[in-house]
Symmetry: C2
Subunit: 256 residues, 2 copies
Amino acid sequence: MNQEKLILVVNDDGVTAPGIKALVEAVSHLGRVIVVAPDAPQSGMGHAITIGSPLRLEKVDLFKGIETYQCSGTPADCVKLAIDKVLHRKPDLCVSGINHGSNASINVIYSGTMSAAIEAAIDGIPSVGFSLLDYDFDADFSASKHFVTKVAERVLQHGLPLNSLLNVNIPKLNLNEIKGMKVCRQAYANWVEEFDERRDPRGKKYFWLTGKFESNDKAEDTDEWALANGFVSVVPVQFDLTAHQHIAAITKILID
Amino acid sequence: MNQEKLILVVNDDGVTAPGIKALVEAVSHLGRVIVVAPDAPQSGMGHAITIGSPLRLEKVDLFKGIETYQCSGTPADCVKLAIDKVLHRKPDLCVSGINHGSNASINVIYSGTMSAAIEAAIDGIPSVGFSLLDYDFDADFSASKHFVTKVAERVLQHGLPLNSLLNVNIPKLNLNEIKGMKVCRQAYANWVEEFDERRDPRGKKYFWLTGKFESNDKAEDTDEWALANGFVSVVPVQFDLTAHQHIAAITKILID
């Protein structure tokens, strides 16, 4: 029986962000699409979940013919709540995004977009996070949509290896300028923080997080290299954080 | 020159939690200790960072002779702010915890305790997260303190492999019942959610996150096995999330 595929759409910029609209448009012909997304922006939420307060879930009418809910929680909460209370089963695919801004390199750790995708993957659902390297509200998602459709079709058809998902980043280029997709590894990098120190009207200090992205990883097999050279980067991501290669060294340091 | 070691202490249960007091006591003889911790509980914050609102940082007098600050942000924010605005240099060691409850297996993904330790490790700081398998406010941290001191001493002496940190979980046992430390891998597992659906006084639905931990990973090289068998589990953790082993398979699925 050729049952219709069930596709969960989520994001971290909130249900009203243009990126999720583009994502819905790019996958709506591939199956039955249900959207469960935060009711407000949740950028930088990492893999936060809501334990200390309850969650709200409300049906909204945003995308023509697409069942859509907004949730008061984090991106990871949206996925958990969607599976338990909306879908009542695991979807065939979870797509997250399209994020307004890069989630390549170390940004995968801070990303709400990727945390939603990781949450679905932990539950055994084939899952992909998409991000466009353009922070603008008015970003042009047309090239992104082309790659979303392509990746979603392939993943629906072939599945993904157990305990893995995909982190797809798309350069800010027109479709005809993009050289294709490149499967690569996460570049090593970090953010160097410089907090902006200010004083409130009562004279008390407060701090805004600012920082610059620094990478000394110049290898050509990384997502940063792919994006800088006109490719869509695709990083297979895992949620086993074990540094297996260091088990022997740590045993020597701590125990022997 | 034998300069005094600088040790940053952080947690996710908040600066007033008994677990961070135990952690301070366990490392205070090893160097100059500075505490920068959340001003309120931040459990389940994953690797959240605060982008959309400013942060507060206040000096408090909680631990005799130890410079201590409370921060309005997440555990990862605390580390970033500590390095930029309090320490003005990278510490020689960052310790996070002692968490009230397990951060073994997949819990590492949701853990604020581990996100603080990961944040420090991304910055190149030798870093360890500690958790006791006891959620009680009145938990007995005496055995934990023994292992904290031992691990902190070894890490200060030997450092850790590049781009890695440690996730240390301690079973709820007396010191003489613990068989020792075991370096192991993160067990595969997930939480199966069952949201508790209620109605507020106005009749509107809301949901509390509840769930049960499920693991089918029965191998004897995992943290869950170690903890169930009386060992302290030590998992070397990495923040390169690339599933390197799947790069060829994904290339085949998406591109070839």
